[in-house]
């Protein structure tokens, strides 16, 4: 297996590496609310995943097999499914960190 096949995984890892440190840095309690987080991923991720399935099967876009890992779920690379978990998570982490940062700013 070529290292190139990790190209999409690298992008997801970059997103997590950039946002998970926000949890200790801003003392976020996002990860301590697994139920709320899981429901958020479902409510936001699933509609977009369905859109993605439609678009992939309709040929709107396609994925380079040389730059993704071999497993496919309903024709989508595993990474593309993970995208709809990672992006809601990093969005919420950024949103919550910004809220804390802006409160701190206002208290000064």
């Amino acid at each position: 297996m070529s290292v190139l096949q990790w190209s999409y995984v690298a992008m997801l890892a970059f997103c997590l590496a950039g946002t998970l440190p926000l949890v200790p840095a801003f003392r976020l309690d996002v990860l301590r609310q697994p139920r709320r987080l899981a429901l958020t991923v479902l409510l936001a991720g699933v509609p977009f995943l369905l859109w993605d399935l439609y678009a992939t099967h309709a040929g709107h876009w396609r994925f380079d097999a040389d730059q993704t890992l071999p497993p496919r779920i309903a024709g989508l690379p595993l990474e593309e499914v993970a995208f709809f978990v990672v992006i809601p998570l990093v969005s919420v982490l950024t949103f919550e960190a910004v809220k804390v940062a802006r409160r701190r700013w206002a208290e000064r």
Partner: protein, 118 residues
């Protein structure tokens, strides 16, 4: 439907959910727009990676641009079709709306941290 029309629809639906369905109205807050400003910067970088390296390839018939993957121009921004900005906006907004809506439905933590409603 083309990616272009679906992407516009995605933004409209996400905004409608925020304004009138969940009534979270985060699109009226500086918190949301500040967070989105940060997120969209990183979206351009990470999406530029996915599209510039052609990890994801688009059918020219379904986007405003064509099959030329250029940094800027031809309805592309950092290699990605402009439609991706709309797709990203919808996904990020709906994520923050869902998170906010779910937070309102649970008891607010009390100041002493016991979790009882204040």
């Amino acid at each position: 439907m083309t990616y272009t029309s679906l992407a516009v629809l995605g933004v409209l639906v996400a905004v409608a959910v925020d304004r009138w369905v969940a009534r979270t109205r985060i699109t009226s807050t500086r918190d949301w727009w500040s967070a989105y400003a940060i997120i969209v910067f990183f979206q351009l970088l990470t999406n530029g990676w996915l599209t510039g390296r052609r990890i994801v390839q688009y059918d020219p018939a379904t986007i405003l641009g064509d099959d030329r993957v250029v940094a800027v121009g031809g309805w592309r921004l950092l290699y990605a079709p402009v439609e991706d900005l709309l797709f990203g906006f919808g996904l990020v907004l709906l994520s923050c709306v869902a998170w906010t809506w779910l937070g309102r439905r649970r008891p607010q933590p009390s100041p002493d941290g016991t979790g009882r409603a204040a």
